[in-house]
Amino acid sequence: MRVSELIRTALRSLRANKKRSFLTIIGIMIGIAAVITILGIGDGITQTMYDKFGNNAKRGQQTTEIYYTPDNENSAVNGFNQQDLTNIDNQFGGEVRRVRIEHETANLNTHAEIGDTLKRTTVSLLNKPTTDVKMIAGHNLSAGQLATGEPVALMKESLAKKQYGTAQNAIGTTATVGSTSYRVVGVYRGQAEYSTDGDENKYGVDLLLPKKLYYQGDTASQGNTIKLTFDQGENAGRLSRKVEKYLKKNGSAASQGTYTYEDMEKALKQFSSQMSIITSFISLIAAISLFIAGIGVMNMMYISVSERTQEIGIRLAVGATPANIMMQFLIEAVVLTVTGGLLGFLGGAGLAHLIAPLLSHSIGSGIHIHAHITLNAFLLAFGTSAAVGLVFGILPARQAANKNLIDILR
């Protein structure tokens, strides 16, 4: 008999017993849906962590950062100067593609003299005019002022009021950061220090200054953070540790502080291996549920075989070979489980997409977890369900094929 006919026959007998087929499918469906949901969310979490903290390997290159902490908190010493960069270049030029001093532009902690008081101040730097702040008094920084690096500044409303009484009064005053005095030209409405998704808000600071002026002269060629860029495929973590070690010995300010490389990638690997332990543990439970569902399939197939003894006899009498009969029942079992598997895949994918936002909401702090359903997950669902059908269908199908024709017809 042609395979297409065997499939057609199998489908017809499954349709003839809709309720029972449906119930059997549900068992498989739940098992597969559980696996897919867990895999989807687990992969999603791992993916999110890598995107957020990883070496950005996706963009064709990887970057890491090494930062410097002076032993004395108030010391003005910088951990990196141009000489350090040249040294690193000479030492690791083959492996490190580029090294440069990272100039932070958002939420810098520094000291500023406002009016006549020196106080801790948070500062963000601007390259081009922003529309993200709402001006209350004065005017915004213009493109021209930012491009030429004029000593102008914007002040937060609450700071202006505290210092000068009203926002209007603050206009024209000076704020001195480092060695530069900035003229306050505008006051903007204060914003929360953290954005709704938990990141630091660049515009929640006390002062907004032109970046061009802030990093000039010495400060432009010095800094406390360097950014290393690697080609994709390099072991960025290992190389960065080597650079760190080198700096600890030879860095320009090695005697006054420490150079640190935080290997996020390593932590991430640990994290993802922990995730995979959890995932495989839950998958084990899911596998048990699939096993139980498989026994359900077997049970149903045995019932089906004994109910349809007459049909088997008729088919054998008109020329079906035992192999034909076995294939028919095996296909029935596989169709059942694969249908369950595909429905379970859809259900699991939907559930993962539903749960992921809830999860990111409950974690908060700006972590967006997106369910990540891969082709592998699909193949897993398809393969597992087909395998369950084959494994648990083979015994009933063999029983059907080995029935004695004469006993049936008598």
Partner: protein, 231 residues
């Protein structure tokens, strides 16, 4: 065409072994219409199952068109059944959930033919047994006579060399029985189909060319031998 030599058949039931057929020897030629009669339990159904390749568990020799089929495997028996013999049973043996066309097409499908190529043949056979237009009906909604016609259509759809009928009229009333018998005779006379049937209805047996009587697993009379002896 069919040549049985000293066929013996046993049924095992627990520790007991019933000797059902004793040294049966029988020849059937192409084109014959044979009735096998006997009491119930005489072994006539067992005999016909062996003749129709349904039962491969017997002792003795069975030559079908010269082939020693007593040596065949189970799979070979399947093929033999599919290509050489059509079956008509007392209780019709139709698949209840499948339409008439599906039922009739089964032997052709198991022979590996495509659904599209056999449609015409199935229609023709249904016309032949007087069931034109019943193709999409379900057997469970049909009368006994109609169901037996479906089963005859299924038996002859693949142009078998002979038909085996086990009490084909056993579940039918007198009038319907006669209709079915007329159909058999028509097939036998017009198409030369060999038919071997088991019956205990004397009226049915009387319409056959040859009557073989079996008692307790032994052939006690064969009208052909009587005729041959009289010649």
């Amino acid at each position: 065409m069919i040549k049985l030599e000293r066929i013996n058949k046993y049924y095992r039931q627990g520790d007991h072994r019933f000797h059902v057929l004793h040294d049966i020897s029988l020849n059937v030629d192409q084109g014959e219409l044979v009735a096998i009669i006997g009491e119930s339990g005489s072994g006539k159904s067992t005999l016909i199952n062996i003749i129709g390749f349904l039962d491969d568990d017997f002792e003795g020799n069975y030559f079908y068109e010269g082939q020693p089929i007593h040596n065949y495997t189970r799979k070979q028996f399947s093929k033999l059944r599919n290509q050489n013999v059509g079956f008509v049973f007392q209780n019709f043996k139709l698949i209840r959930e499948a339409s008439v066309v599906e039922n009739v097409a089964l032997p052709l499908l198991y022979a590996g033919q495509r659904r599209s190529t056999i449609r015409g043949r199935v229609e023709a056979v249904l016309d032949q047994v007087g069931l034109h237009g019943y193709g999409d009906s379900l057997p469970q909604n049909m009368s006994g006579g109609q169901q037996q016609r479906v089963s005859i259509a299924r038996a002859i759809v693949s142009h078998p060399h002979f038909l085996i009928a086990d009490e084909p009229t056993g579940a039918l009333d007198t009038e319907t029985s006669q209709e079915i018998m007329n159909l058999f005779k028509e097939l036998n006379q017009n198409e030369g189909t060999t038919i071997i049937m088991v019956t205990h209805d004397p009226k049915v047996a009387a319409q056959c060319d040859r009557i073989v009587k079996i008692i307790d697993g032994r052939v006690v009379s064969d009208s052909q031998e009587v005729r041959d002896a009289g010649k």
